[in-house]
Structures are given as structure tokens and as C-alpha cells.
Symmetry: C2
Subunit: 358 residues, 2 copies
Amino acid sequence: MTVTLADVAARARVSPATVSRVLNGNYPVAASTRERVLRAVDELDYVLNGPASSLAAATSDLVGILVNDIADPFFGIMAGAAQTEIGGQEGTGRAGGEKLAVVCNTGGSPERELTYLTLLQRQRAAAVVLTGGAIEDPAHIAAMSSKLTKLADAGTQVVLCGRPPLPGSDAIVASLAFDNRGGGRRLTEHLIALGHRRIGYVAGPVERTTTRHRLEGHRAALVGGGLAGEGDTAEQERLTVHGSYDRRSGYDATLELLRREPSLTAVVAANDTVALGACAALRDRGLRIPEDISVAGFDDLPFSIDVVPSLTTVRLPLFEAGARAGRLAMGNETPPPGGIATIPAELMVRGSTAPPRA
Amino acid sequence: MTVTLADVAARARVSPATVSRVLNGNYPVAASTRERVLRAVDELDYVLNGPASSLAAATSDLVGILVNDIADPFFGIMAGAAQTEIGGQEGTGRAGGEKLAVVCNTGGSPERELTYLTLLQRQRAAAVVLTGGAIEDPAHIAAMSSKLTKLADAGTQVVLCGRPPLPGSDAIVASLAFDNRGGGRRLTEHLIALGHRRIGYVAGPVERTTTRHRLEGHRAALVGGGLAGEGDTAEQERLTVHGSYDRRSGYDATLELLRREPSLTAVVAANDTVALGACAALRDRGLRIPEDISVAGFDDLPFSIDVVPSLTTVRLPLFEAGARAGRLAMGNETPPPGGIATIPAELMVRGSTAPPRA
DNA sequence: CTGTTAGCGCCTTCAC
DNA sequence: GTGAAGGCGCTAACAG
């Protein structure tokens, strides 16, 4: 019924081993033989049996890319770039030694993250790329650290992209972390320089590295600008509302901030999507941006330049980072010293921020 | 080195066959035995060897979801929904009989689409979901049809989501097609009803079903409204510019339309992202939306309600469609009659369209 | 450069 | 309800 290597070998009048060698291309084979084999492959319409191949070779061509939210371009851009580096190059037409780069959507759930890693471990994945912020729950960190170490020990290349290094797992190829703290700090410094003094912050979900780092940067700027004392947490908490990384959360949190402090002159959002929600809430309250109140985001997603007014934000080189992670996973780039690289974040000043009303 | 089924069997003092039966749960096993086996699995930290398992059973737990552009929420929403239905349910903690739902990014390239299908075929994927518009090149249609038939024959469930049925492959489980034609038609009828007479159209890439159907709907409305004769193609072509489904294309195409016809009173875009680019171009030309010119999109992506003015568009139930495709792929939903369902598109009138200036 | 020989780790009839 | 044995299709040493 289904065509096997042996069938191809018989038709090409060679041994199965030779067919295997031709297909994998890692071995010298006479041109004429190769020719004959490839013809037989085409004639019989042979497709390699992946599982059998992986079993015998003890490796597979599967590469997993984990994302927190596949509907969020933040992840889509990184994943797409990584996938291009991993699976896009060859194109023999017959699907030769290509990797199968696939993205897995955890939905931000720690359980699903671990489940996906187990599934990939089960498939003996060649590499795994973890994108986006990590969850900071100690139990989950321990579980992840242990799981990733096992994966690495089994020969899977593990790369972190947009995620800080995981304590305890040094078997990881590399960790590319965004400078969320620095970006957050420069963003709020920009607002302070404009003259803002009452700045609300719409934070992401608690227990995520991304959330914490951006917030830390924000507060460092506050302290640096003399707007808050080192230990002045009560007031800082009052002007911070946590939510998820979506529009709705930005909308609701902004209304809450306004309730807590009606004289706010600026709102900083955890990311651009949240900023969009914040803008909508402010408009619904009859406030003009930036005349009455300034708004800023983070990430510089493609739409940020198109909204009106265009969004002041912090640009993260998502595509470049994803591509680099892909190359690292494939061993096509030497890891940074210590396996850790910090990727700079650039402040983009646009129309949504302006000096506060006098 | 690596723990195998036999190791677990030895520790649990049973035969490998019994362990296999416990793990797959498709066979009666005494509760006490099962208990013992599961304990041994945990103690040894055993992870099933996927390739070996797939080889022996001649099936795998891999499910592929193909998308044209992973950075586009249009696909992200559908893929995320499908993935939830496919891989999200169980959660035994030990990763039991779960499917590995993965998304593959073709980048809109026909070659990569076929390559991914071959790769999934090679893995003996349990199911494949193809999302989004198809390419209409005859050679590619033939290749796809042949490939999908082979996949289906090999036992892979094939589902189309947001893609019209493929002629020649009836082995496909189901095809969920969006009513792009109807949606496009209603959208343009809305503009005509408002009084618009000179309407530009920013189309998607040629040779894509989505592009063609939406454009056909648009032109049907034009003809129905008496704005164009049946065969009046020259004028229709003049007011149509093709591009890709991204913001940049919307920007450029809109400038081109304005060049061809400065007295345009409305621009219809192939999708919301393109509409965003169109808006930017119009603003850069000093035109106000909707006072000077109306703009409409398609898809109703989440951001569409947040842009200013909010975008008139056509809502597609992306999440529901993706979820349904996922269930169909898993055999958890009975296919529609004939394997074909048309999913309705709903006109959403918002702030970006208004009557033309008098 | 090419053929031969063993498994890779698991599932699945068949017996018991 | 459980064990024993064969084979899934391929690759990786070895020879030659």
C-alpha cells in the first residue's frame, strides 16, 4: 500500500542504505546512482517515513517555537522570523533535509507551556525556542528549569527569545532578553521631561518578567525624577493597575486610574495593544490626546504608527530578535558571551505625548 | 541513558506490553497494576518516545495548522481557536494522549505551503487544517489537490477553514468558507446607499480566492447600484489597485488611486490592515475621514474598533470558525452536509464611512 | 562508493 | 487481565 524505502531501492536497483544516503545527502554517492534513485523516488511518489527515520537516527527535524499568544503580532513577528530562519532556506521542491518549524500557542498558561515542552520532548525535537516573558511563580520556574535541562541533555537546542535567562539551567544555548527595564525607564523619563507629574501606569499581568521589568523601569524613572521616594510604594501602587496584555484590560484599567486620580496628565501602558484600549477609554471620557492627557505604549507594533495620534512607544526589534533566535537554534550563529544577550529598546517619540496643560 | 518502556516495565514488575496499555489507555488493565505502572513512570521520569510510538502504531499525534501570515491576527485568531480545540482539553499533567497542535507559517508562498504539507505527510500527521485564502494558479491547485488527496488517503483528516472547497479533492473532511463575496457586496452597497459614486478599491494580491471573491462582491454592488455596466471592465480596473495584505500596500495603493481619480469619495480596502494604510495615506494628503472621504475595511480585527474614526468593516467570526475547524479535524463535530459550509459575514457600520460632501 | 546486518522503542496480534 | 514475540521503516556501523 504505502511506498517504503525498500520499494525505491528495488526500483532503482540499489540497496536501501544507498537510497537513505541519497535522501539524507550526508554521504558520498555516485552521481549516476543518485540520479537513478531520485528518479525512482519521483516515479513512486515516495515520502520518507518521519517517525521511522527519527527512531533510527534518534533525532527529528521538528523545531518548536512557543508563544504566549498567537493572535498577538508581538509573538507573530518573532515566531515568523524564527520560522523563516529555521525552515525557509532550502526548497529543493522534494522537501529534503528541511526542518519542520512549528509554533505552539501556550495562551500564557504555565501548564500548557510545560505540556508543550513534554510533547516536543516526546518528539525528540531538534530545537525549542521560547518567546516572550516568563512566569515568575517559583514552582513553575523550577519545573521549567528542570524540563529545559532535560531537553538540553537529550540534545535539543534550547533558545530563549525576549525572555530573561532561567536560573539553574545553563544547558541552554542562549537567551536573548529585551531591555524592558531600560526602555520603560526612558519612556517615563521622556514624560517627566515634558513636565508630567501625575502619571498612571497600566501594567501587564503580575508574575511575568516582562511586566515586572517594564514597571521597574517606570518606577526607576519616577524616583530619578524626584516624583517618588525610594520606598514610596503606597503612592506608586495607587497609580498602577494590573491587567492582561489586551485592549480590554487597557480600557478598564484606565478608567480605574482616572477614578483613583482624576488629575492624571499621562498614562503609560504595558504595551501598544493596552495603550489602544487606554486611548479608547480616555476618549470615551471626553479627553483629547495629547492635549488633555498623554499616552504611551511599548513594543512599537506595526499599527502604532497608524493610530491617531501616532503612538509614542518603545521599539523592540522583534523581527531581528526572532531571526537571531532561529539561527541560534539551528547552530547558524555563535551564541553571545555567556549565552546571554540584552537587546536594546529604542524610545520612539510620536504624537500621543505632549507637555501637560498649564 | 534514556529511559524506555522496558525500564518502566521492569520497575513496575510487569511486561512492556502492559505499560503500553496503561499509557494508551485503550485496553483493560487492573487498577492496581495501572497504579504501579504510573508510579514507575513518575519515578523514572519516563517520556514516551514519539517516533517509536508513531512508527509502531502508524499514526502520530501531530496536527498541523497552516497559515499564510503568522504575524497577522486574522490568522492568529483562527489558529489559536483551532489549537485550543485540538490540544487544549485534557491536561493530565503527564501529557497523556494529547495531540500536538502546531501552526506552520507559509508566508503566502505556494512552495512553502506544499513543503509544509509534505513535511506533515512525512510525520504522518493526524490532521491538517488549512486556513485563509488559496492561491488560484492552476498548477498549484492541481498540486494541492493531489497532495491533499494523498494525505487524506493516508488517514490524515484535512479541514479547510476560511478557504473555499478545492476542486478534485473530495476526501477532505470539510471546508468552511467565509462569505467574502456577500460581505464585499453589502459593504459597497452601504457606500452606494450613502451616496458615493466614485469608489476606489484597494485589492489584495491577485490569484487569491479571498481577493477575488471580495472584489467580485464589490463589483456586483457597483453593477447593482447602476455605477457600472456588466462589462464595464476598463473603468472598474482603473479604480482598482492590487497589493499585498499589509499596511504598506494600503498606503501606496491609495496614493495611486488618488492619482488616477482625485475626486474619489470613498476607498474600500481588501482588509482592515490595508484600510489602516489607506487612512494614513489619506491623512498625509490632508483629507479628513469621513468628512472628505470614507474608508472601509474587511475582517473586523480587534483594533478596528479602536482606530479613529472607528472602521466600518465586515465582521468575520474568525474565532468561531477556527474552533469549528479544530473540532472537525478531531472528529468532534459532524461535518456540514456535502462537507461544505459557508460562514456568514456581517456588515459593521462605524465612523469611517459617511455621506460624501455635497 | 555500495551492500549487509543489526537494531532504534514501541504496539499489537496471539496465547495463556 | 497479562506476557511473549514479531515487525513497523529506517539508519548506522561494518565490510567489501
